[in-house]
Amino acid sequence: MTGTDSTTPPEANPKVRPPRRRGTGPLAFVWSSVVMGWRWLVRMRTALYLLALLGLWTLVATVVPQEPNVGQTVDDWRTGVEGPGTAVSAVLDAFGAFDVYGSPAFLATLLLLFLSLTACLVPRIRGWVRLVRHSQPPLTRNAGRQEVVARLTTDRPADEAHATAAELLRGSRWRVRTQRTAAADGLAAAGPPAQVAAEKGLWSREGGSLLFHLSFYVLLAAIVFGQLLTFEGQRAVVEGARFADTPVSYWTYQPGRWWTEDSHRGWVLDLDEFHVDWVRDPLAPGAGQPTLFRSDVRMTHADGTVEEAVVEGNRPLVVDGMKIHQLDWGYAPLVQVEVDGEVVFEDFLTATATDGGHFRAAVKAPAANPDLGLSVFFYPYAPEGDDGNPVPTGAPFADAPLVLFQMFRGDLQLGRTQQTINELDTSALDSAGGAWLREGAEVDMGDGVTIRFVELRRWVGFQMSVRPQIPYLLLASALLLGGLWPALYAYRRRLWVVAERDVTDGRTIVTVAGRAFQRPQAFDDEHAAFVRRLARELDGELVRQPAHPPAHGPAGDPDGRPVGAASAAASSAPTVTADTAPAGDEAPERR
């Protein structure tokens, strides 16, 4: 991350500034703190710590229920109904652990991470641009001293060998530089020999890494702008009922800051029928598993046109840029409550499924005096037992539906306590007995109260959403993946081809030298393949180098080298010809 060269003296390197004279006083202290903070921020280690911290927040959010997701569970933790107890929950609350992604600590970590990323990227981008624009493949003075070296002999002149090599390399998209002779370019006699120098992967690895990291800014921008323009609303619709896209008709409603009433599309949805089915055979594999959820709907567009449509899981309906998802479903028994001959409540209940296989709902009838409330359990399948009473089961199909309720009289406290639609606050209510009902039946509860289970339908929970950020998120994902691949797999390498006429036998000796900055194994194969191609083009013959003396002690594990007969043959045969040599056979000499 440092842009300066520490090996040269400061006066030779204009990038190194002379030491600043230290001031005194509070301003200098603040300034030096900022500088120190910035230096801390740009360190790679800091980025690692911040990543670890981000991981820690994420771990907390995985283990602790999150309020925006499962508000009910969080309430249960706070009240001690579930979870580790009220004391622990209070501590968790104090640290904002129930809403990690909305907590200042998380946002601060994210901000620091982006700051650190920016501080890291700015000099890297500058360096990369300079490299791509101003550098050219460096020449070699002694090709024989490079890391990977292979030699071949040919009868063609040196110039032709250079030209062929340059052509081959350009064809494989290498950056190529041809150097005729040192003297021709006005260099000293001791300058580099005539050669072809080439470089590849110079910008793709680092460039890919930069692209990968830059895509996070696109991702962030898409998410932030998306939050402003987005809309999401939910509403449960009973079979046969209708829903219009107006702000007041949603049960829950999360508009972005820039979403206005005019942004609604104004269509109307009629839910004709909801289909649901299960594997009914109790002996079949997957018995009881659902096999079908489908809503048949009629859409009336703002311009009056009507069309039939289907909404299924994974298959949302798109209407004027608004997506309609089928998220949830349940049974909707129509319950009527009559007090002294007057109907005080008549509505479809949107009973929601519980873990036990039954459905829960509540009736709240403030029109009665005193208030009347029913806590309702709905069992889709409760066949009659031997004694004539229903036996509730957990089976989901509505073959023998049963409404089981507990009646309460008193104060419903509507508007004073937080209650969901299917929840009854019984703290100020008196129990007034319970009963069960079959479809079409009624029961007299005394006190002039009659309760009827009129008919059974189903309801579907729809979610309507508009997310204009999706295309930009896709773009960010494409940039991210497109950058990640070269960042991991592209590699920077150099090749030099030096051809010289051998004065003893008049043939030309071509040295192909190379060096890889990453992935030396892959480069070995590439180098060998190039040497073979060049030898074929020049009708050349590969020269096996004399064995390199083990100057560095015993040689190590021949990592990445071809094994078996091929390499054994290569190491025993001093010279192999290009045509018969299998891949990687040249066994380039290394120093």
């Binding site: 690692l48 299924e312 994974n314 979610q463 990640l484 015993p554 040689a555 190590g556 594990d557 078996g564």
Partner: protein, 412 residues
């Protein structure tokens, strides 16, 4: 054949056939390794060893083929891709790991002597899937979509690749400990890192080329110590018995056993916490998992002298994990696209989403650590181990313990 017969056949193909093949491939390959008859030494007059190694590789391919056959038959038995519950995920993960490991070691990096470890890991994962075995059955309609096929396949393959990466990470750390211990015993100065340990000249079976190593400052390069093959030397690489014992002695078996037990306990507690098992069942499972892995760690310790040097294993782990990271990233993005299609929101911080993000962060930290001075080598190796623990947490804990939209374990 009827569906029932296909179901029976798929079960038979899985266990015992596939499992036994993995185990026998592991035994043959590891035996070949223990006599140090890797393929590139076969010209030194060891045709039996060559045949053993070849037999091991052939067994490995047969095991993978049997595993593929199991997946196909199971798919036919339930008329869908066998990626719908935890048993099927784990099975596919083992297959992906075994296949990628086998292809990588035999065809890409040409280190066939390490295949035995991959087969051993595959056998462990295959048998662990039996803990969550479920008979073939239909799919929840919400899962029945092309997006699921795509997202789940990519994620499962990535998890399989990460498993191989974990294996190499573990072997790297073991070998590194042995090399450092040996260096310390001989009073050869080394740095803290792997690279330093590999510098020791008299440390069998090899050394790293000095010049190459200085170039290792470049982020992400392979530090794998390549030196030109030298025929005479290869016979000499057979570690002498005293040397083998010295390397093993550098790793304390007690520390290794206790460390592995504690390390695997960080994840195996999920079996105790799973709501669908009783406390006793859960404890038995957790303890079994811990003890099996401790035994395997001790087996790996015995094989340490026959392993390639630490820096090579480090490079293998890095390359495999880089591939897994790419696949995981792709899989998470595909999951977000599916979520958008299915639930109308691309990201909702659901426990599984959160945990998969956590796994991504952990592996990103590994890749960064490997490019950062001071954390390269051993440090990065430990981060890789931690990242795999996070992956296992994501896989088991979130499927079995935490309630969320991804609770599709298929257990009831």
């Amino acid at each position: 054949m009827s569906q029932d017969q296909l179901a029976d056949l798929s079960r038979l193909l899985y266990s015992p056939v596939t499992l036994l093949l993995y185990v026998s491939a592991a035994i043959v390959c590891l035996y070949a390794l223990s006599t140090r008859v890797a393929l590139h030494e076969t010209r030194s007059g060891r045709p039996v060893g060559e045949r053993l190694q070849r037999l091991g590789i052939a067994l490995a391919w047969t095991a993978v083929a049997a595993h593929v056959a199991h997946e196909i038959v199971r798919g036919l038995a339930q008329n869908r891709l066998p990626l719908g519950n935890m048993f099927e995920f784990t099975s596919a993960m083992a297959l992906a790991g075994a296949l990628v490991g086998l292809v990588y070691l035999t065809l890409v990096r040409r280190k066939p002597e390490l295949v035995g470890f991959v087969m051993l890991a595959a056998a462990v994962v295959v048998s662990s899937a039996m803990l969550t075995y479920a008979d073939p059955g239909p799919l929840m309609p919400i899962l029945d979509t092309w997006w699921r096929t795509f997202h789940v396949t990519v994620i499962v393959v990535a998890a399989g690749i990460f498993t191989v990466g974990f294996l190499f990470n573990g072997l790297h750390l073991l070998r590194d400990t042995a090399e450092q211990g040996l260096a310390a015993a001989r009073a050869v100065p080394t740095g803290r890192s792997t690279v330093g340990a590999a510098h020791i000249d008299d440390l069998a079976p090899g050394v790293v080329d000095d010049e190459r190593d200085r170039g290792a400052d470049d982020p992400g390069r392979d530090v794998s110590g390549r030196v030109a093959p030298d025929e005479d030397h290869e016979v000499a690489t057979l570690p002498r018995e005293a040397e083998r014992n010295a390397m093993r002695a550098a790793i304390s078996p007690l520390r290794l056993a206790v460390g592995t037990f504690l390390g695997t306990s960080t994840v195996s507690w999920v079996f105790v916490a799973t709501p669908t098992t009783t406390l006793q069942e859960g404890l038995t499972r957790a303890l079994t998992v811990n003890l099996v892995l401790v035994a395997l760690a001790l087996v790996a310790r015995w094989f340490v002298p026959f392993l390639p040097q630490a820096s090579t294993l480090d490079g293998l782990a890095y390359r495999i994990i880089a591939l897994g990271f790419f696949a995981w990233t792709f899989g998470v993005i595909a999951g977000a696209m599916w979520a958008e299609q299915s639930w109308g929101r691309f990201w909702g911080w659901d426990p599984k989403e959160t945990a998969s993000f956590l796994t991504w962060i952990a592996y990103a930290a590994y890749l960064h650590a490997r490019a950062t001075k001071g954390t390269r080598g051993r440090g990065a190796g430990w981060i890789g181990i931690g990242a795999f623990a996070v992956l296992m947490f994501t896989y088991y804990a979130v499927n079995l313990v935490f309630v969320g939209l991804h609770s599709y374990a298929g257990l009831s």
